[in-house]
Symmetry: D2
Subunit: 416 residues, 4 copies
């Protein structure tokens, strides 16, 4: 089942890259949270191609509409702002969508139309003699489905499917920030061979050390958020960002692409969240982040660097107000410690390039392949940040609800 | 999570009775099945109020559009017939929806707009002094959600939510019929104190006995399907149907409502499906049918009648070509035997009535309650048939896929 | 997956009727509950054959040992009382098992050995010419597994598998009773054609009406518990119990068997528990109770009786301190109302009888079947009560934890 | 729920490090597979401390007994070899366990007793003034459970819990090898700062290139298996293995510990397995491997190395008989390509060390901590291989069954 997170807070997604729309269902949201469509849209705007200067030149203008799960007695506020219309044969139907309201605890459904796709010529890819793009899922998905595959793109394997991640993640992070002050940020740390010299991980660790306070001041977080939003590419290291942006531009001209590494840091994370082993938060985060499109590696805390250490160097001393260091990255035994949650993922260079490559047709006859046309992200890492943040938010909110479920007591409920 | 069936074939639903739309995701459909939007619409038409003569006078004209999971290279066939438009502020977007195509194995999403709702006056129900309709979920859902509830209807507890059941069930039954000749029918057997004297259960048991053939001839099934479609209310007993229709009409005039019983029969069911115990097909069907809105009882095979029997009367003798009788109703130990699958459910009379009743406000102060306005089904059983059939189809297809998964062998897959 | 309940409180079971042992895992139990092995054993003792006077003459003396999930610093209390020993070839190992302690939140595992089985002659059932017992799963399970089936009994389809239900249910009911005063009782209401004239449902409804108090006094409950424990068969109607016991005895002599109906009533149930629709508590209970071995029908509240009513008769008036009647059986829209939770199930007569029957061999050649030997319960309903109570407890505790998970707030957790 | 894999092939585990036993349930195994207890024991022997020369000096002699899910008509073969005995108060019970037989499709349960634990003095860790071991879960688990925690070890967070992984993985890999020739191997590639210069990844890639055959000859695999079994520590690079073994020995003397990196390679993997996105095999493997105790990083294929590449370097050319290189590591879009499946994980140095450290009591008062006694693995990576292999096997078998479930067709099942 196409479900992220769960069993308590979960996101289901449907919709392939070139289909009519991406549909999202957000299940398990607690009642009584005030949500605005515009707030979700803000996060989506960070995801879409064209959402920053160095992604793909498409501008899909993905606009989300909300179809269920909200309410408030003021129907003008609830319903003004967006609408949906369907036409079936000669019949046309219209409805107002939810603009803002309180969650009711019932599933929230959302759709984003796919309107920018051109009805172009897909004969290069059609049928058993259709060509296979190296690095893509074309060949395996064609044979997996006995040929019943949408040849116009990667289906659910397309990055477009992550619209659902971001919608579900937006709602989760709004709740986490409101209840716990939890904020999730990403910063690009490497593009090709260029490496950032400043990281969020280090920045906030220094802040904790300096203030002696594990709880990060919201103003300090907002200041970093602004800086990230204004950067040439989303990185806390502005010199690196400028260089990387230039490299991406050059690489696009070459018809080639670049890998990237991104760090994800969650601040003010509630401690004690996470199951012990088979569904531990570490397992869930490694899967959710490491399983994202184009990701080839995932780390928690100091990651592969710990391999070369001794235990005496790597164990984080414990003090009465916090751990004295954070090699563990905010998770011990898969349970949150309250220290910043630190993850890092490595993306492969975008598979779509404008250069000749060796490939096959779907019937496995060999060809010299060249993409006839098409636009692409030369560096998928540039806009992956909001998706990574979303996936962390979904897992954290689910873990928070799992923890809450165990705090069962006699005051559970009252009616009469 | 709002999910029916699964883990292989599953249906997720979102959307309350008075929200913008009902959204459905159908997950796990095998690739390569040819689906037409119109075929799904046909089943939906049987569900909607106004879909027959004795339901509620509303005519919601629920039209489904399909947003993902289909494909064919002929884009004209794939995309002509329905479209979707969203407007967000000043921006408008449009897309063609899927009209017919092959399933790709990826989730199929569908939406049905809710357009007939009047923006009426809901002050009778708003806030802590809002009135509680007896027999409805108003009181419990208000307190369960701390007051954050859509007061305009029952939310997901409204019968409107079963649109998702029918969409998911339609696809399942199309597959089951095409692959195995499996057909699922329902017939109303009781309305208030009126009881039908003919049943599908008996009709098809007689046919098996008469022909000595467990596999029912499709023509014989189609003939019954026509008869059911043409009946005054959906029952194989036309005299009963006429009387019951009259009774419903009279009861509506009285401002009162009626209970009903419905039998569900699946023919040409593949044998050997179902898990042993905790997820047995019997458990799944009892839950899925017995859990439907307004249902208070559910039976498999001869149901509660078996209580008064001796084992020597109740055990079905086994012969070389079939069981000699079908007291077991097509399931032994939760596994299908290939005999007709027979279930029966009892619906309570519709809770909404136009008569004075004792009730409370949501703050529990007592009132004399009278519904100020509103339309209703006097007998919910009249249009429940297609939903029951759908739920059986979802569970059967999931069980078939579970069985198939165990037939693992060396010929599993091939690429190079 | 062989899992009852969940996703929060769940019970997994393994072990067939004639295998070495029944293994149980109880997952999701909140930490800090004090559990005694002996308390679980008490419930198990009610389940086992020979546990009362009218079940099967076997006395399996099923003793449970607990292998994980408990702790207390006093190791003598924790570990004294039971032990486990394994022998593998020449090596023998021994360990003390948990006798009593606090739950840690980690899974609780338990095993019950199957020691009374005789190594007897099973050639009547072996291989493709093995005989099929009518009413049993022999035929379908043989073909479902391509012949790889334990011919010595029904595998997981045997009633012995419900040991896991009872272990998981025991822990759930201990928690429910301690936290909420919730108690779950069963009473046999029908055996063959004999019907009880007193029911728990009526008894406790009268008590609520008489005292005007929805919360039932624990002393009143304990008094009924004693009465049920002392009855000839477990029924609140002692005259009926005596007659039914006599009928069972006579029927056993005839080599025949009897059906039974059992009511299940939960008192002092926390209100507001349950999901809205696809995983509603009504759906879950109908499945869990209706899916039990030999059950052919399941009802909630007034069950099939509501079919013949008008809405004006069936709607339960709401008053400021409770519902004025309980036709709904404690669930509206699948959510608990705080009224007694009332269910009813109908069991078929035990399939195993000592009379000649028509049957087949597993290869479908026809035979005259007669069970060569074996003992049996003439009326499975006589000892099903504790299993039904257990399944209700598992679902109620899971629903309580689901409800608790939604009460997320800023005070979730604290470490430093 | 403590469940690995699923929903089709899944492993549930219970039992903490110092409890009476580790219990395992393997659910979803197809019927008809011949299993021997001794074959599972062989894999377990590789896991246990003392199972090789450089792990912890304990020798737990973990012996598994099988309690359900097997059968064969020859009861001597089925039941000879192992037995189980329980004692409860004055009563003793005994049963023979399953030694070898065919799987029936019902859950397989297994237990391994924990017999080597000393009843020692745990006062250093008991209660609110109990001391916290740096790098361990002591602090978070104590507060997560409100103090109801087994202080004698890490509970389920202890490496001992992976006995269940290995039992479930053993059965999975036996099936995978028999049906598809799939073999899963691990080799240690780094210990502290020492790095291996030979890897399984390179070895088998060279073999594919040399033979032009994607299917690896079983003899070539067996030869590597022998080499790995005989190595000083489990690595294909024997010079490295010798040096690393020496380093481990020295580090143990220092009372310190070492990190390690391990590669996991699956050969002859069926192609086309895996879901598209939210439950993709990449996501599942990243989670399952990356979520294991002490793991801080996980990679698929070339992992973080791809970050610095261009697309033109990283895309694997496709040829008619295989991919020409394997930077993708056998998974594209989360679907298997049939190329060797290549993963890599990084383990932190064992947290338990014999050196003074800064820590706290559970009540957060600061202390100078020194472990009073205890034995430990100085390098947990040395014996993690079999667990990693097991987790891959569980996910692969589940994915194979998921793929098989989609191949539904008219020949599904037959009874009469």
């Amino acid at each position: 089942m196409e479900i992220l997170g769960g069993p308590l807070y979960a996101v289901a997604g449907a919709g392939e890259s070139h289909g009519p729309a991406v549909t999202t269902m957000v299940m398990g949201c607690p009642p009584g949270i005030y949500l605005r469509r515009a707030a979700i849209q803000n996060f989506l705007d960070r995801r879409r191609p064209g959402g920053n200067r160095h992604g793909t030149p498409r501008n899909e203008k993905d606009k989300v509409v909300l179809l269920s799960g909200l309410y408030q007695d003021d129907h003008d506020k609830l319903l003004s702002g967006s609408s949906l219309q369907t036409t079936v044969g000669a019949d046309a139907f219209q409805t107002e969508c939810f603009e803002e309201g309180y969650t009711t605890g019932e599933p929230i459904s959302a759709i984003v139309l796919s309107t920018s796709k051109k009805s172009g010529d897909y004969t290069q890819f059609a049928g058993p003699t259709g060509e296979v793009r190296p690095g893509h899922t074309d060949l395996v998905k064609y044979h997996k489905s006995n040929g019943f595959v949408d040849i116009r793109g990667g289906g659910r394997s397309s990055y477009r499917a992550t619209i659902s991640d971001v919608i579900g993640g937006s709602i989760a992070r709004i709740i986490l920030r409101e209840m716990f002050g939890t904020v999730i940020l990403t910063s690009i740390t490497q593009v090709g061979t260029l490496r950032a010299s400043q990281t969020l991980t280090q920045h906030f660790q220094d802040l904790v050390t300096e203030t002696g306070n594990l709880q990060i001041d919201p103003k300090r977080i907002e200041s970093i958020e602004s800086q990230l939003a204004d950067a040439e590419i989303q990185s806390i290291d502005s010199a690196f960002a400028a260089n990387a942006a230039e490299l991406i531009k050059e690489t696009r001209k070459d018809g080639d692409s670049l890998g990237a590494a991104v760090e994800v840091v969650a601040l003010n994370v509630p401690p004690l969240l996470g199951e012990p082993l088979y569904q531990s938060l570490k397992l869930r985060l490694m899967g959710s982040l490491g399983g994202l499109h184009a990701v080839q590696g995932c780390e928690i805390g100091d990651g592969f660097q710990v391999v070369q250490r001794r235990g005496s160097e790597n164990n984080d001393p414990v003090r009465s107000t916090s751990y004295a260091s954070n090699h563990h990255g905010g998770l011990l035994g898969g349970v949150t410690t309250g220290m910043p949650l630190v993850c890092r993922v490595g993306f492969k260079p975008t598979s779509t390039i404008n250069q000749p490559q060796q490939s096959v047709r779907k019937n496995l006859s060999e060809i010299d392949f060249r993409l006839e046309k098409g636009r692409h992200d030369p560096c998928v890492g540039v806009r992956a940040g909001v998706t990574l943040e979303s996936r962390v938010a979904i897992e954290l909110l689910n873990a928070a609800m799992m923890h809450q479920s165990q705090r069962l007591g006699p005051d559970l409920s009252k009616l009469f």
